[in-house]
Structures are given as structure tokens and as C-alpha cells.
């Protein structure tokens, strides 16, 4: 993508919220900070704002790059910019690091005002519902009453869906991509393996590793490796790595034999080098808990009856983490309520991670949908 279509140099901003926030768990945060970025300009009527919600490992840094770190390009830079599908000449785009995150918003790495030490394991579990409640305060802070759209993939899609339920009058379009209305038992099982890898790492120290000057890198590394397998499709792995040997022969040891092993180790090590373990644990729980139909005896259509937004729902053919059938559950529940919904099942080989790629068909659909949003 050429630089003329980039939002260019960006800088994170911070917002402080001093009103206590009551969480779904019953715990209360006395106040909190959110770090965010914006791209484009809020119009006079404040009708062109779009919120981009991040998934498990994402952040507020959605597009552009930093002046002092030009390689650090936003995670959805292929989507957001002048003349890109989410066009910053039309929209005022907001990226925010969620509450409990590890990129600068108040979370386990923050100082607990009560103890003067890092929260660590004392940071309360936050949920998708809590994130949306916190994002609503950011909307107020920015002068945005109603989002033109809230968009996200995977766990980000769950936030877009939750916006339509918690604040039906504050969102005109919910764009729910590669997502699901709730996790399956298998989804939870993979999350549980990841959690147990972290919790059983001797360096975890019950979540107070910061007090011990260590980081549970072994656990984080394993968590990321198992997660990564579920982000990619079987066919893509076969095409990209197959049974290619790293050294041209079997080593008859536990060093790297196959390229796929090298790739997974690399991804695991990289992730363990920067991501916070307590945040990771919390994110997986937010995923596990999300289930808008929970209070409606499992009836998703009943749960979605209060949504007023128009919906864009998309899934990817090779995504086995949140397969197309999971998106169709959302679509059927919306149609049951006679909501406007555009649904696309996109033929893309890259599995769950497809939502991050600039597949031409996928991006053409996003562009067409976003072009039709009045501001």
C-alpha cells in the first residue's frame, strides 16, 4: 500500500475517566485511563465517527506509524486511510486499547492507587460488556453521541455486536467480522490450555510476577503457539509449510525439524517478549464469557431483539476457529428480528486471520458497505 494512502504519522492520546466504573463481576474501578488514536476529522455534526475494536492481541494503534518508530505500522493499516475502504477523508476513525490491556490503558501493568504497586492479579476481570461501557465514556469524551459504525474482527466483532445491544441508540452500523455469538466448548478448551500454560508457569507467581522481577515467558509462548494454530487454516499451513524440513533431513532430536515448528517457536517467542500474561488471561476469559443469549435461555434472537443498528456480518470459508456457521447464527437471529443485515461468506484460505488481510473481495465488500453509510 503506497504511502499516499496512509494516514501517515500518528500519535496516541490519553483520556482520564474519574467516575468509578462498576464492572460485570461486581468489582468497581475507582477510575481509569484509556489510550487511543484517531484518524481523520470529526465533522461538524459529529456523525462520521467509526470505532475500531481490537481482538485478543490488538491495540489502539490501528493505522499509520509513529514518528520515532516508522516500522510500527497499525494492525489494520490496510483498511484505514485516505481512499482505503475505511476512508479517513470521510470518517473520523477511533482506535482504543481496551480496559485491562497492556498497551497503555489501565490494566494489570498499571499502578494500583490503593497499594502503590502494579495491579497484577488484583486487576479485576473485565468483560466485553465492560469494554463497551468504557468505550462509551471515550465516545462522550470525544463528543460522539452516535457512532456511524463500530467495526471489529473476532473478539472485536463481539464488541461491535455488544454495542448494538448495550447502546442501541448510539450505533448506526455494527460490522461484525470473523466472529461468533459465543464460544463453543472447543473454543473454550483451547483458551483453557493457553490459560493453564500461563498459570502453571513457575514464573507466574499467581499473577504477581512483576513483584518478582520475572515474566512467565514459557507460558505465554505456549499460549501463543496454541492460539496461532487456531488462527491459521489447515490448508494454508499445508501450502505455506507442508512438511518442509528446516535442515533438509530429520534431526532425530527435539531441535527444529519442520519449518512449521520454527514458525511457531518464532511467533511464540516474539509474543512472549512484549505481551502481558495477566492481560492475556483476562482476554481469554472475556471471550469465554461473552454470550448475549445467556440471559435469554440461549435464545439469540430474543437477545438481539433490542438491537437497532444495521449489520454487516462477514465470515471466511477456511476459518475453523469461528466458522461461517457461527456468523450465520448471528445473521439468522437478526433476520428473525427483521433487522437490516448484509452477510458475506468470503472464500479466503487464510483461516481466522483472514479478517486482517486485504483480500480483494473482502475489501471490496467493506468499501462498498462503508461508502453507503451516510454521514
Amino acid at each position: 500500500m503506497s504511502s499516499e494512502h496512509s494516514v501517515g504519522v500518528v500519535a496516541p492520546q490519553r483520556a482520564q475517566f474519574n467516575e468509578p466504573l462498576r464492572l460485570q463481576s461486581g468489582a468497581e474501578l475507582p477510575g481509569f485511563e484509556l489510550v487511543f488514536e484517531t484518524y481523520g476529522t470529526l465533522n461538524a455534526d459529529h456523525t462520521n465517527a467509526v470505532l475500531v475494536c481490537h481482538a485478543l492481541s490488538g491495540s489502539h494503534h490501528v493505522a499509520g506509524h509513529y514518528a520515532d518508530d516508522p516500522e510500527n505500522v497499525g494492525w489494520w493499516d490496510n483498511l484505514v486511510g485516505p481512499d482505503k475502504p475505511l476512508d479517513t477523508r470521510k470518517f473520523f476513525v477511533v482506535g482504543v486499547n481496551n480496559l485491562g490491556g497492556c498497551y497503555g490503558s489501565t490494566g494489570p501493568l498499571s499502578i494500583n492507587p490503593e497499594s502503590g504497586k502494579r495491579y497484577g492479579a488484583d486487576f479485576p476481570l473485565v468483560t466485553v460488556e465492560d469494554w463497551v461501557a468504557a468505550q462509551a465514556r471515550l465516545a462522550d469524551h470525544l463528543g460522539v453521541h452516535t457512532w456511524a459504525a463500530v467495526i471489529g474482527g473476532s473478539l472485536g466483532g463481539m464488541q461491535a455486536l455488544e454495542w448494538s445491544l448495550q447502546f442501541p441508540d448510539r450505533i448506526r452500523h455494527a460490522m461484525v467480522i470473523a466472529s461468533a455469538p459465543k464460544l463453543s466448548a472447543q473454543n473454550i478448551a483451547f483458551n483453557e490450555v493457553a490459560r493453564q500454560a500461563i498459570l502453571s508457569d513457575p514464573d507466574f507467581h499467581g499473577g504477581y510476577y512483576a513483584d518478582h522481577g520475572v515474566v512467565p515467558t514459557r507460558g505465554l509462548r505456549l499460549a501463543r503457539m496454541v492460539g496461532h494454530i487456531t488462527y491459521l487454516s489447515d490448508t494454508q499451513m499445508a501450502e505455506k509449510f507442508g512438511r518442509q524440513l528446516r535442515h533438509g533431513e530429520h534431526k532425530f532430536s527435539y531441535d527444529v525439524d519442520f519449518e512449521i515448528e520454527s514458525y511457531l517457536r518464532y511467533q511464540g517467542n516474539k509474543f512472549a517478549g512484549f505481551f502481558d500474561a495477566n492481560t492475556y488471561l483476562m482476554m481469554t476469559k472475556a471471550l469465554d464469557y461473552f454470550d448475549p443469549a445467556y440471559d435469554y435461555e440461549g435464545n439469540l434472537a430474543a437477545a438481539l431483539a433490542r438491537a437497532k443498528a444495521s449489520f454487516f456480518v462477514a465470515s471466511f470459508s477456511t476459518d475453523w476457529r469461528f466458522a461461517p456457521a457461527r456468523s450465520r447464527e448471528i445473521v439468522f437471529a437478526l433476520l428473525h428480528n427483521r433487522r437490516r443485515v448484509v452477510y458475506a461468506e468470503i472464500d479466503c484460505g487464510a483461516g481466522h486471520d483472514s479478517f486482517l488481510l486485504d483480500d480483494p473481495h473482502y475489501h471490496a465488500l467493506l468499501r462498498a458497505y462503508l461508502e453507503n453509510i451516510a454521514v
Copy 2:
């Protein structure tokens, strides 16, 4: 299954092999022991012997129970016994713990004659080819020149296939169930996560944990948890566990919330209590390395040209670890060589583990095939 169809009380036997065994890795074992069990009686012509090969966590204890441990029933007891599909009134059935195993055959837990200490990490990696070579010595020991059949599921199926290639004149029927001609990149990836869980456990001590009086239970536990997810089908997990809560509400902690978490922890803990970590590592490598087409530029049909056996190949509709398409690769390669092959794709919801169950359709097929084997 009523006790009249059980082989009843059984006892393991041992065989010592003093001839050195050259392994595929180039290493040599000066000699080795195999522990095995037999059920039924070898006929006068020695034509009714069937070898049962075990998969990752199986053993020589295939059927019956021990006099002093009546609860310890063989892992394929539903298949083997008088009037069962593998009928011990007709067949002489042999179960063997593979070389490198942890149930009594020579392996990492054995004393290394050179050091007087347990082998631990010094036990050489053994492969499917090595297992079959060792099993051939057991066949000689038992007076079995030619197996009426060699049968196995998963990794056991790979051994049945390997028998047909390494000893084409010593096997009349190869029964390859829920197996694959080689692992996919995704299969290897899951194995690599399991290995890294064990290798990175501080109690692993480079494989010499026995010298330290500890066991890498954390790693083994995680390895089993991730393995277990791949043995079950998504639908079965959904039916069996779904999103059932253990305590009727979200705990907002990392204790057990969902039943599936409880189940996985239980399976992991149980396994870590008895299985040897070095053996587990080795088994996963044997799986990763198996690829009869490797020396034939990936051409499986060319690799299977030397097989002379008749084949029974079966797969299960919901097995995503070794999906039916993987069995069909074997079938197509056999048909290309005009080999006799019976193939069944069985509609069973239990995923990869289906091969261990007594699904009526599956067992009827096994019974019919085995009844037609002349002895």
C-alpha cells in the same frame, strides 16, 4: 460387554532380544526387551496370529484384566475376545508395548547398561519403522512367520501400513484405522506445542528428570490437554459439555467455570500421573517422521507399490485430526497399485477417538472383514 465375551484374566510376558538393533536414526540398541500379551491360541500352522499395534498412549494390555487389578481392562477390550469382532476363538492375538514405551518394554525409563542409570534423554529416538522391525523379532520369537493381520488405529494404523511395506511377505491383511499416510503441518504443529510444553517445564531437566527425582507433570499435563482437544470432535464436545457451567455462574476467576475446563484438567492430571515424558516426546516424533512416500518424492502410490497385503481402511466422519480425506489418500494409492482394499467411512460423532469405541456399524464392519480372513 458381558464377562462371557471377555478373555478374562491375562498376564503380561516378556521377551529378551540380544541381537543389536540398528535404528533409523543410525543409533544402535545393543539389545532390548518387549513386554507383550497374547489372547487365544496359536494354531498348528501358525496362520491365525493377529498383531494389535497401539497408538500414542496405548500399551500391550489390549484385552482382559489382571488378576490383582480387575479394574485395569485392556484398551481395546471391546474388540478382542471370544465372539467379539477380533474373535479369540479363531485368532491368536498379540499386543505389544512398543520399543521406547513406558509400560515395560525397553525405553527411557529402563536402565542403560552403559551407565547403570535410567536412559532418560539418552534413549535414542525410535520411529514407526523401528517399531515394526522390533515387532518382527517378537513375531520370530512367537513362531509367527506371517501375520493373518496387523491392526491398529491412528499411530497404530501407521504401523499396520509400515508392516505391509517393510515385510510384504509377512502380513496378509493390513487394517489401517483412523490413520494417515503422514502428518499434516497442522498435525505437526499440535505435536510441537505438546513437546514445547514438556521441554520447557523446569522439571524436565533436559530429559534427565529421573536423576533429579522429579517429573515434568506441568508439561505432560498441557501436552495431554492439547492432544485431547484434537481427539474429540467439535460437535461431540458441544453435545457433551457445551457451555455448561460447573458452579451455575461465572466465577470471575481462573478457577473452573465451564465443565469442559474441568474435564480437560482431569484428563491432563490423570495422564501426567503415569505417563513418561520422554516416551511422549518420542511418540510425537515417530508420528511426525512417518512418511512412506518421503523416499519416493512424495508419490504415495509409488511408495505403496511393494505392499502385497489386502487392506481394510476405515475413517470416521467427525475425525478432524486424521480426517477421512487422509484415509482416502491411502486408498487411492492402493487402488493405483490394484491392491485389494476395503474402505469404510463411518458416520460417528466421537472424532478421532471413534476408533476405540464399539460403534455398531464400525464393529459390524470389523467383524465381517475379520470373519472372512482364512486361517
